[in-house]
Amino acid sequence: MSTTEPQSTRSVPKPVFTDAEAGALEFPSSTSRSYNYYTPAKRRATIYEDVTVDVQPDPARHLSQGWLYGFSDGVGGYPENWTALKSSNWHAFLDPNEEWEQTIYRNNANIVRQVSQTVANAKAAGSFLSENVSWLGVVEKHISAMAHAEHGIGMYVYTACQRDAPTNMINNAIAVAAAHKLRFAQDIILHNLEVSEQVAGFDGSAHKAVWQSGGEWEAVRKNVEEITGTRDWAEAYFATTMVFEPLVGELFRSHFVMQVAALNGDYVTPVVVGAGEADVSRDRAAARRLFRLLVDDPEHGAANRATLEGWLEKWVPASVKAGRGLQPIWSQVPDKMITFEESRSRAVTCFTGLLDELGLNYAKEL
């Protein structure tokens, strides 16, 4: 039933024609339509640069009154001495992935869709049930155990480090890497949940004991915990991206899981792990650019190289040991399509390639 009662007069703001759009008048600076307080890397500033550069102030640039709050020792802001590395211009680093909010959500949402559709398809096709039983054991114990390492790096290495670096560009790149790792860890463990709901006898919580007390993963856990225990953000970032990832993370993910999963009837795990690998590759591009800038620094390059080589001495043995500790897992799949040494050789090639790129030496045997 309709009503004919008159409505009271509504109070709403009145539209007003103001003609306040660009180009309506000419006056000084009427065409000044780019941020003018920094020099873009190329002729025209990118959206990434515009939304990232100088958002985190720096007393060496525009911050005239200094930091207004300090810790109990009076030090505030983003002290450069929170890392042993030095730069004549920290602001030279720009994320090669140009991550800002739109890329973060587009990329990660795409991965979520990719994984979700693959899992839904596998469930509909009943393909979890046709996976090799021995392989399901690897998924149950070891791939799921790897999720802990990914989570630990995301939460207690990258998330922690994105507070510390001297520029917004570095910190944002690390924050995005943290988001990747946390999502990847959850993807693995939620895949575990799916399989445990589909396959009778699949122990969805077996990974906890494997990670916490299992022999294969003990050195990996030690390696990750030691990185989380590192105060120097650049050291933790270097030990993760340039040492742990090639010698442990990729050894297991790229050079084992991605090689053998499909052959054991599992096409879901490679989608999940492949997405994680793509993240690592993307995030490594940022790390490579940062450390490249630091070793090439005209003023501090040599000292930085020495510091990084010192960190190699400290972290490579830990990651080599962690990688070697995983060797028994290679024997747990029925069809050995790839041996541990072949996988390791590929991982070492990747690692030494990174060292070559940075001009770093590591004399000890890998």
Binding site: P13, D54, Q56, G66, W67, A109, A178, R221, G229
Partner: protein, 553 residues
């Protein structure tokens, strides 16, 4: 994902944490709070598999609106008076946002609850989103609004401007000092839970009334993330309350955080809403009315007061005094007047108030005209170039005594009778209020009420902006700040909205006037001179009117 699926998935991801046995995460940050007895739970129940697509959808709506605004020529209907204040607001806000991202490790590092760590990590990503989406909004304004000057220098100006500095403490307060004080009580319990209501809800409403529907689009999208952050904060404060030893620290931090947020946010947002609008409908809410609804009722009465059941002492006196400052002491009006007084050191233009404004103010704040009306009339007169200097240097004509600055909140001591003067750390400092004095002299110290508080932060920096330029010619100050347009002489700031180049102020009109720091001058005085000066200052006002020469407090 269905709610049942999310709950199950959320339970599952809890399996990812573990108790380290070789090395625990390094203690990068410290707190004097203790969480040994705390119960642990994560009220957020957010997993990244549902989070990313949800945020992507929100983004799509934001970017769709941006395209629509451009295609629909939104800028033909935006009020310049409003847009000019966005040059200040949008220069400030991306920094607190990104600071909130940086603050998350402080609480992750010090609050031993892996469940809540998940929520905090998602907040970190949210805050990167907020910072960059706001920078992008500003970029759009710069490209499409009639006057890009001020937007084009945005983050540099934020970092060298007195008003930017007031806003900057809002972000810096999140990332330094005692980790829980900074990243939980100041950031989440007070700033996000209370003051984002006026920042991200009340202000966008005013933007829409001034023809700008992009600010509401972006900021409501941001605000929809804030509710999750509030859950993070609440979870941690409940953990803290489970240990009696934290009570005294919580009460200290609530007092500091409440008062600083009031001093800073109400100063800025109150000014934007009351003095940046052209919407003078008498039935639209004033800032005071909005504050009463969003802060007093929705936060104080509905969120803060219920914490009393846990035995926490709530700073009722400070909440009431904040209201007293807004309603009876003219806090917002005094701040807006100060911004306009210092217009030439800004990077935005400030429109004068006209008869329609006067009528609205008198309706909303009875007695307003007697206090502030005449000054705004003089502002209008002195905004026209006519051989005089900027109003700041026309103290006699304007009847305005340039104010001392509060050492703590860095908003000037505008409620003159409330100013506190004390020698702290070997320097004579001025404070806008007893609470700001307490914050510097008592709260931010390594001992509190006789107990060691070694994690507590310090107030640092060159906190009085004017002291940077003490003795400088004013034209040189503006050049040094970089607030000059591309012809090399016309100022970015203007005391009016007229873009006729002949009417616009240039460096020439600012030459020959000397900048002076009230704090430097105060410290140069003998104790007797200082006492007399302070008494005279405190007898002044409202509206910055100097007291008669013989008057004293």
């Amino acid at each position: 994902m269905s709610r049942a699926s999310i709950t199950k998935a959320h339970q599952k991801i809890q399996e990812l944490s573990w108790e380290p046995t070789f090395v625990s995460p390094v203690e990068k940050f410290s707190t004097d709070y203790t969480f040994e007895k705390a119960k642990k739970k994560d009220p957020l129940k957010q997993i990244l598999r549902s989070y990313f697509p949800m945020e992507e959808e929100k983004d799509n709506r934001v970017f769709g609106a941006m395209d629509g605004a451009i295609r629909g020529n939104m800028f033909r209907q935006v009020q310049q008076r409003w847009m000019e204040w966005q040059k200040l607001f949008l220069s400030i806000i991306p920094f607190p946002e990104i600071s909130a991202a940086r603050a998350m490790p402080l609480v992750i590092n010090t609050v031993p609850n892996p469940e809540v760590h998940n929520g905090l990590a998602i907040q970190m990503i949210d805050e990167v989103r907020h910072s960059t989406i706001q920078m992008n909004l500003k970029r759009l304004y710069m490209n499409h609004y009639i006057d890009p000057a001020g937007f084009d220098i945005t983050t540099k100006a934020f970092q060298n401007n007195y008003a930017g500095t007031i806003g900057r403490q809002f972000g810096e307060g999140f990332i330094t000092g005692d980790a829980v004080t900074a990243a939980n009580v100041y950031l989440t319990i007070v700033a996000e839970t209370a003051f984002t209501n006026v920042l991200f809800v009340a202000m966008p409403g005013e933007a829409a009334a001034n023809g700008d529907y992009l600010l509401p689009t972006v900021f409501h999208s941001v605000q929809s993330d804030e509710s999750r952050h509030i859950s993070n904060g609440y979870s941690i404060i409940l953990m803290a309350l489970s240990d009696e030893r934290n009570r005294e620290l919580l009460e200290r931090d609530l007092r500091y955080a409440w008062w600083n947020n009031h001093a800073v946010v109400d100063a800025a947002i109150g000014t934007f809403i009351e003095y940046g609008t052209k919407d003078r409908r008498k039935d639209r809410d004033s800032y005071a009315e909005m504050w009463r609804r969003w802060i007093y009722d929705d936060y104080y009465r509905s969120y803060l007061v219920p914490l009393e059941k846990y035995g926490l002492v709530i700073p009722h006196d400070l909440v009431e005094e904040s209201w007293n400052r807004i309603w009876n002491k003219g806090y917002i009006h005094e701040v807006a007047q100060f911004f306009a007084t210092g217009w030439a050191a800004n990077y935005w233009r400030i429109d004068g108030m006209d008869d329609a404004d006067f009528e609205w103010f008198e309706h909303k704040y009875p007695g307003w005209y007697d206090k502030y009306g005449k000054w705004w009339e003089r502002y209008a007169d002195l905004s026209k170039k006519n051989g005089h200097g900027p109003i700041m240097f026309e103290g006699d004509k304007a009847e305005y005594q340039y104010p001392h600055r509060c050492w703590t909140c860095m908003v000037p001591c505008l409620i003159r009778e409330d100013m506190v003067v004390d020698e702290v750390d070997g320097q004579v400092r001025t404070y806008c209020s007893e609470t700001c004095h307490w914050t510097d002299a008592v709260a931010f110290r390594p001992e509190y009420n006789g107990r060691p508080t070694p994690s507590m932060g310090k107030l640092t920096g060159k906190r009085e902006w004017e002291s940077l330029y003490h003795g400088w010619d004013y034209a040189d100050v503006i050049k040094d700040l970089g607030y000059v347009r591309d012809d090399g002489r016309t100022l970015v700031p203007q005391p009016h909205l007229n873009l006729d180049p002949k009417k616009m102020w240039t460096l020439d009109e600012c030459k020959g006037h000397t900048m002076q720091s009230p704090n430097v001058l105060l410290n140069q005085m003998s104790p007797e001179e200082r006492e007399k000066h302070v008494a005279h200052y405190k007898a002044g006002g409202p509206a910055g009117r100097p007291a008669p020469q013989e008057a004293s407090a």
